[in-house]
């Protein structure tokens, strides 16, 4: 069984939302990435979203973009990211989802990319610049490989598109909360709650919310309505602040930061 599916089943039984931290592979080096994934798991992360750096990300904000830049400026190759995950699979069974630009997936061929990712130990991928209209090949290829392609719904998505996207998505649905969350403390804007309710009416697939969650309080608010809480930029920023520290120290402080978010997401503040 796919590790993502298994994890959500388990969490559903426990009536707990998933905590899904995002980190960038190779930021600033793969040793940190490897250690961070294991540390995040220890701190209570349920699924890891691992960004594969791309030179021209259009879906990502400045924080993630700089982390991509740090990784690429040291010459990081896609094959090294796969090697890193392959190595991790000797130590952990935590589900790992790649976040990767279609520019990288398309190079070679999408079929080949998915085969390599799965062989390395990835359980799925989100491809932020691939709308469902262009997704046929990757969705089919993922189905054949027991790999999951996680699709996105945005606040701008029309109800008609929503129903098509929830049908396509595999593993879970990624709800992007682009507007409204920054600066919000404990409560979520009503349209986000409404949209998640609407999506829940359309599908039984788990719904995870990301983009803009940065504090334990926000994580708690999201955890009350969604099946998963994704935190990206805030974790990268924490890592950024401690770049000058030794690897072990960097990993420890980011883990500590993540622990608070886990407590928030799981309603144990």
């Amino acid at each position: 069984m796919n590790r993502i599916d298994q994890k959500f089943q388990e969490l559903r039984r426990r009536r707990e939302p998933a905590f899904i931290p995002f980190i960038t592979a190779g930021d600033p080096d793969l040793e940190t990435t490897r250690g961070l994934i294991l540390e995040l798991e220890r701190c209570g992360a349920d699924i890891i979203e691992l960004g594969i750096p791309f030179s021209d990300p259009i879906a990502d904000g400045p924080v993630i973009q700089s982390s991509y830049y740090r990784a690429l400026s040291r010459g990081l190759r896609v094959s090294q990211v796969f090697e890193c995950v392959k190595g991790l699979r000797r130590e952990t069974e935590i589900p790992i989802v790649a976040m990767v630009s279609y520019s990288l997936v398309f190079k070679g061929t999408p079929e080949n990319f998915i085969a390599r990712a799965q062989e390395a130990g990835f359980d799925g991928a989100t491809i932020p610049d691939l709308p469902i209209e262009e997704s046929e090949v990757v969705l089919r290829s993922a189905t054949e490989k027991d790999f999951r392609i996680v699709c996105f719904v945005a606040p701008t998505t029309t109800p008609e598109r929503m129903s098509r996207i929830v049908q396509c998505t595999q593993g879970f649905l990624y709800y992007i909360s682009v507007v409204g969350i920054t600066g919000v403390r404990d409560a979520l804007p009503p349209d986000m709650r409404e949209n998640i309710q609407m999506l829940k009416g359309m599908t039984d697939k788990p719904i995870a919310l990301g983009f803009g969650v940065s504090t334990p309080e926000q994580a708690r608010a999201v955890g009350q309505v969604a099946d998963g809480v994704i935190v990206g930029s805030a974790i990268i920023r924490e890592l950024e602040k401690h770049m000058d520290k030794p690897v072990a120290e960097r990993i420890r402080v980011v883990g500590k930061f993540a622990s608070k978010l886990v407590a928030g997401a799981k309603g144990r503040l």
């Binding site: 791309f54 021209d56 879906a59 279609y102 398309f106 190079k107 610049d129 262009e134 945005a154 992007i176």
Partner: protein, 406 residues
């Protein structure tokens, strides 16, 4: 030198999914999909709306100053001793380049859609100035993203945009050139799409941009066709234009796609060499990939990461190219060659001296190739070159290259 082009293209492009053969499409975040759908629908409605076309034509005539002349470059023709050379004078448009054909069209569309804010990316600054100009005329708020490197190379255009009431936002990421400015503009649009229209400046990006920008630029080719028929009583044998993203060239080429006796030659930026990071000749040296929302030729490494590019000309300094060009290359309908920085510089000066026209460095690439090619052709051969813009903006940079202090 032998130029062969296979005639095999129908002019009804792209298909309803925004595809030119396998090229084009829409590879953007979900957040932008509804906006692109809306843009496509509104554009198609406007295209078939007589009053929109009348309004567009009014501004093109009264404000831009169209039609632009198709000028017989007599002295250059005589000196080169071969093909008869005509220059399509897009440099004589208001703001000094072809870019305004597109920005006027898109700003009228933005008004129809009720969007109050305009954003754009710019490389050489010509598109930025053309956008700022149109926004000023219609009283819309405008912000232009420009790479820091380009701001330095094209400080005159930065100042022009500011005079026009536009905010120029320096882009400090990546190579700090056109591709990075495009990334930033797309990111801005993701967050502001409800009230903002993004005026993309070339025939690149996700559908419907390659189609829409082309349609607005096709005025170049339509006029050229009418003008050459009037002057010569027949179609030209060759069309030449420079290709960065490829908007002036597609604008010239597209109305001739079905006229298979007309050969099409796009000239890319050969920079300083053929090594990685030495040129921006995407169709000549690139591979099929995805950049900025469409499938096309791209300069990428084996992983799919964008490679560094170089051209002295900021307007050609781009690692991608419009999907319709990729299709024309693949079908053999058009042929793509390149000219180096040095060669463009040579043509820049020669055009100034022989014709009293200072061309944009971008257009100088096409001119160089024409100067090399024309002498090998018979005197009854007709060649039309798109002089996409004026070289006034390049004066400082060229002076610097020539070791002159001004």
């Amino acid at each position: 030198m032998k130029i062969t082009t296979k005639p095999s293209v129908k002019a009804i492009l792209p298909d309803e999914r925004g595809r030119f053969g396998k090229f084009g499409g829409r590879y953007v975040p979900e957040t932008l999909m509804p906006a692109l759908d809306q843009l496509e629908q509104e554009y198609l409605k406007a295209k078939n709306d007589k009053s929109f076309q009348e309004e567009l034509n009014y501004y093109l005539k009264e404000y831009v100053g169209r039609p632009s002349p198709l000028y017989l470059a007599e002295r250059l023709t005589r000196e080169l001793g071969g093909a008869k050379i005509y220059l399509k004078r897009e440099d004589l448009n208001h703001t000094g380049a072809h870019k305004i054909n597109n920005t006027i069209g898109q700003i009228l569309l933005a008004r129809r859609m009720g969007k109050k804010r305009i954003i754009a990316e710019t490389g050489a600054g010509q598109h930025g100035v053309a956008t700022a100009t149109a926004a000023a005329m219609f009283g819309l708020q405008c912000e232009v993203y420009m790479g820091e490197e380009d701001m330095h190379r094209q400080s005159l255009n930065v100042f022009r945009m500011k005079l026009l009431g536009t905010k120029v936002i320096p882009v400090k990421t990546g190579s700090r050139t056109l591709k990075d400015a495009t990334n930033e503009a797309l990111r801005d649009w993701m967050a502001s799409v409800k009230y903002t229209h993004y005026i993309l400046g070339s025939v690149v990006g996700p559908h419907p941009y390659p189609m829409m920008v082309r349609d607005f630029q096709c005025v170049i080719g339509r006029e050229a066709k009418e003008q050459i028929l009037e002057k010569e009583g027949r179609l030209p044998d060759y069309l030449l234009a420079c290709v960065g993203g490829g908007s002036n060239s597609i604008g010239l080429f597209h109305p001739f796609l079905d006229d298979t006796e007309v050969k099409l030659i796009g000239v890319e930026a050969g920079g300083v060499g053929i090594g990685v990071g030495e040129h921006a000749a995407t169709l000549s040296y690139g591979k099929v990939g995805i950049l900025h929302g469409s499938l096309s030729y791209v300069l990428q490494d084996e992983d799919g990461q964008t490679l560094p590019v170089h051209s002295m000309s900021a307007g050609l300094d781009y690692p991608g190219v419009g999907p319709e060009h990729s299709y024309l290359k693949e079908t053999g309908r058009a042929q793509y060659v390149s000219a180096t920085d040095q060669e463009a510089l040579e043509a820049f000066q020669r055009c100034a001296r022989s014709e009293g026209i200072i061309p944009a460095l971008e257009a100088a690439h096409a001119l160089y190739y024409a100067m090399k090619f024309a002498p090998t052709l018979s005197k009854d051969t007709l060649m039309v070159i798109c002089l996409s813009g004026t070289g006034d903006k390049d004066a400082f940079q060229v002076a610097d290259k020539l070791g002159v202090k001004i």
